[in-house]
């Protein structure tokens, strides 16, 4: 069996045996539900069956959830010494990273699958553009991929999951908010446009509106590849 598939299976087995995972799922489901259906700016208040708001809520909650899912990915392997065990087997570093990445992505996909009843409810309440719905979920998957790769990279730097959690949070906050804020402060300059390009939100907004632009796809794939490559570099360097 392909080592990537073996690692994914093992990771999912561990996570499904963990109570923390079910708590995280419940928190995600309840928080998104509360914000979308019950909070002050809920869809009944705005009177629109808006998918854009739905995906913004999901994106915001995932932003907090992903560091929690990635914090243990590499750090605990380092802390417990299981890296020694894994790298004495015929697997490559990229296979380990791919296994970890896809295992977390699958967990997030399951989280997103839980939100399908919300989507179906909105579709029943009003007219919904399903192409926009598809793009919204696609945007969420890409954004999630970026944050997972950042989380895995940070987790490879430390053997303390808590440090990994807060450090991932500190980096992702730049991609989620700060690059965009800096860009708006700097006005119409070249650096501002660079910061705007680096902002995940800008690219997510474009896709969630139903526009699939190669510029955004290249951005997401580049960020994912960059941080996974950095994680691979850190792990390989520690083995020399």
């Amino acid at each position: 069996m392909n080592p990537v598939k073996v690692i994914i299976n093992k990771e999912l087995k561990v996570i499904f045996n963990s109570l923390l995972f079910y708590i995280a799922f419940t928190v995600f489901f309840c928080t998104t539900g509360f914000i979308y259906w019950l909070s002050q700016g809920n869809i009944f208040y705005t009177g629109q069956a808006s998918l854009g708001y739905l995906f913004t809520v999901f994106n915001g909650v995932l932003f907090f959830l992903i560091p929690a899912l990635t914090m243990k990915s590499i750090s605990t392997e380092k802390r417990d010494g299981t890296f020694q065990l894994l790298f004495s087997k015929p697997i490559k570093t990229w296979q380990l990273l791919a296994g970890k990445f896809f295992a977390i992505l699958i967990q997030v996909l399951l989280c997103l699958a839980l939100t399908l009843p919300y989507y179906i409810t909105i579709a029943c309440l009003g007219h919904v553009d399903h192409a926009v719905g598809f793009c919204g979920y696609l945007g969420l998957i890409f954004t999630t991929g970026c944050y997972i790769s950042i989380g895995i990279f940070v987790s490879s730097l430390t053997s303390n999951p808590l440090i990994a959690f807060f450090s991932t949070f500190a980096i992702t906050i730049w991609f989620q908010f700060l690059f965009e804020m800096l860009s708006s402060w700097l006005g119409n300059t070249f650096i501002a446009s660079v910061f705007m390009y680096l902002s995940v939100n800008d690219h997510f907004d474009t896709i969630s509106r139903g526009i699939i632009d190669s510029k955004d796809i290249v951005y997401f794939i580049s960020i994912i590849s960059l941080f996974l490559a950095l994680a691979r570099y850190v792990i390989c360097k520690s083995r020399i």
């Binding site: 073996v6 045996n17 417990d80 010494g81 020694q84 065990l85």
Partner: protein, 308 residues
């Protein structure tokens, strides 16, 4: 499969952990790396397991090298790390299945290999437990089981019995001896009795270098080893006997052990027995016991590791 190591060197931050190490481990033989903590045993085993890259030197597994055949070699070796890291959150059986699949064992063989390892390592009653619920002894057995799951040709074991009670230690040693009959086993340990009881070849290491090498018998007969005799002489006063023995030029040192029992250390090949016999005859004393004291591995170990 033979393991041939030549001129192996590993440097960490200007400190040589392993210094120009050369040895050969043969199939059907257990090679013991013996040394105090920090001697370079674990670093050597990590390099053999492909976890660390040497700064200098080469490792050959028959004709395979890590530079050209890393995946192939990793399928041929089984490694038990020093601290035996395991995944606490999964069960014994799931862990062994995971390890078997990582080795790409054909699907139809996986279950039988897992069951074989459970049986070989005596894990039948623990197989459904989570790893975090296992005792230290069973964790160690599981560590050995994962190292053997793919039926490797070379087995690398780093401190396999540390922290175990005597019964558990005996069980693990029996497994290692069984393995040594048909595989190449390299065992790192700081426990002398473990090496003495299980290994065919011993390599004493200190500060990354080989201090002595050979079978236990060869090490005991090393040319620079002292020859010792335990003798009991009666028929005279102890101080007189002691003084007379001290005057024999062949005797390097003398210790009074108990009543009239002495342990004499001398240079081998000097016919000390004859000299003592003549001395007793001249003084009208008689010998009730004369036994050669075999040098223990512990003494050799202390001697060679204190040289530096």
């Amino acid at each position: 499969m033979n393991v041939i190591v030549k001129d192996l060197t590993k440097i960490f931050d200007y400190q040589k952990a392993v210094d120009s190490l050369s040895f050969e481990a043969k199939k059907g033989e257990i090679l013991g790396l013996l040394g105090p903590y920090g001697a370079g045993k674990s670093t050597t085993l990590k390099m053999l397991a492909g976890l660390l890259r040497p700064n200098q030197g080469s490792i050959h597994f028959d004709n395979y090298t890590y530079e050209k055949n890393e995946s192939k070699i990793k399928k041929l070796i089984g490694y038990l790390p020093e601290k035996n890291p395991l995944y606490d959150a999964i069960s014994v059986t799931d862990f062994l299945f995971y390890m078997a699949k990582l080795y790409d064992i054909p699907r139809y063989k996986v279950t039988s290999r897992v069951l074989d390892m459970i049986s070989l390592c005596g894990l039948e009653n623990e197989k459904h437990k989570l790893i975090k619920e296992l005792s230290k002894g069973y964790r160690q057995r599981l560590g050995i089981a994962q190292a053997l799951i793919h039926d490797p040709e070379v087995v690398l074991l780093d401190e396999p019995t540390t922290g175990l009670d005597p019964n558990q230690t005996f069980g693990i040693r029996e497994i290692i001896k069984t393995l040594g009959q048909e595989k190449t086993v390299i065992l790192g340990s700081h426990i002398l009795s473990e090496i003495e009881n299980t290994c065919d070849q011993v390599m004493i290491m200190s500060k990354g270098q080989i201090m002595a090498q050979g079978t236990t018998a060869e090490l005991r007969q090393a040319p620079n080893s002292d020859f010792s005799l335990k003798i009991v002489i009666k028929g005279g006063e102890i101080p007189a006997i002691q003084e007379a023995l001290n005057q024999l030029p062949q005797i390097k040192s003398l210790q009074l052990q108990h009543k009239q029992e002495f342990e004499v250390h001398c240079t081998p090949g000097q016919e000390i027995e004859r000299a003592i016999f003549e001395l007793c005859k001249d003084n009208d004393w008689y010998i009730t016991e004369m036994t050669p004291v075999q040098m223990r591995l512990e003494d050799i170990f202390r001697k060679v590791t204190q040289k530096q």
